[in-house]
Amino acid sequence: MECAQVAELTAAYALAALPEGERREVEAHVAACPECRARLAQEQALVAVLPLAVEQRAPPARLKTRLLQAARADLATRERQPDTPAHARRRGGPRSFFATPLPYAAAAVLLLFAVGGLAAWGAQLRSLNRQADAELARLRSSTRILAAQGTEAAPGASGQVLQLGEQQRALLLVRGLPTLPPDKTYQVWLLKDGKPVGAGLFQVEAGREAAAVVTGDLSRYDLLAVTVEPAGGLPLPSGAIVLKAGL
């Protein structure tokens, strides 16, 4: 295949839209042609960011629960398999304690104690978890989560905006913003066509994540921004934007 022919196909290759035969031909060509390889690499990088163009949705909480349950069950099954020495599988893991040899009686007592205690504790936790899961599932089904990013003024900062159903408020979770002196505050703004409206104040404790209630109907704005302002906040922003989220 000539470069001109390959040039027609690399985009389709990057998009996985080529049939097997042409795919192999493109691979054979780019392996030997640095120029076509570079173009393909660029096209693949462009294709790789396409998931960012998708409207972001929060998966239901039960998905994570199910996945982790499956992984734990799988781990338990693997640990029961006798083909690998126990110490090799368990080294460094939280279960290494049980791999330590103990006199049988002591081990039995310990086990009984652990099982009894854990069972009661587990039942309590399960009931709490069920309530929390149900609540989370209810919230998540009506919640939109948007990512917030620190700007050049606070490159280490990030956060999430949780829009709670149809309510006239949202929750902003922030981490990586520095603690401010007492005469300053973080102020949240909602912007429409560049015009800001104050939407709440918050402080950050050293090394902690911060949460702020954002008041306003987010669907009516296109940007959420956070600035540093004098304590009490201002009617219009005066400081640099430290965090932003497109709405």
Partner: protein, 189 residues
């Protein structure tokens, strides 16, 4: 959690069968994978099945994950897309085509452009860029990427010659590149 582990550290922990590492990777990329699967499938419960399967496969096969061939994020998203398209085809009762991940597909480093776009101040940037593509190019791109159609199938579905589809796919990526570069995003490797 101030000291977040890197993706590579999480893979290493996954290879030690640490469930917590799977949880952290899910927290990091589960939403993206789910959103992508949802976009392809248009159905939340199918998207859940896909994401569960993809992350569970990563858990099971972590030992053979080779980080030098691409990032775990690229792998998770490529797998989510492939599995979603596989589901889509099964549902449409079409013959399944080979959806094995071609290793070359994520061998190349796509991280630089990703982090630039992901960290860009305005997250709507990419959506805007796509919205600015001529309709016929955007449609071809979406049918290929989100619909999982081959270029021949796109030609069929949109009733245009195969050569036109090839041109549209190429031009769509070219235009997307120009639009991103006009926003100060560097797309060259």
């Amino acid at each position: 959690m101030t000291n977040e582990r890197t993706d590579q550290e999480l893979i290493a922990a996954l290879q030690r069968q640490e469930v917590q590492a799977l949880e952290e990777l899910y927290d990091r990329f589960g939403g993206l994978a789910y959103s992508l699967a949802f976009k392809v499938l248009g159905d939340g419960s199918l998207a859940e099945d896909v994401v569960q399967e993809v992350f569970f496969n990563l858990w099971r096969q972590a030992q053979s994950f080779d980080g030098s061939r691409g990032s775990v994020r690229a792998w998770l998203l490529a797998s989510s897309r492939h599995r979603s398209i596989d589901f889509l085809r099964r549902r449409q009762a079409k013959a399944e085509r080979d959806v094995e991940l071609s290793a070359s597909e994520f061998r190349l480093n796509t991280d630089d452009l990703w982090s630039q776009v992901a960290n860009h101040l305005d997250h709507g940037l990419l959506r805007q860029a796509l919205a600015q593509l001529p309709e016929s190019q955007r449609q071809a791109l979406e049918l290929a990427y989100f619909g999982g159609l081959t270029q021949a199938e796109i030609a069929d579905a949109t009733d245009v010659p195969l050569g036109t589809v090839k041109g549209r796919l190429r031009l769509a990526l070219e235009k997307m590149k120009d639009l991103l570069e006009s926003q100060g995003i560097r797309t060259a490797g």
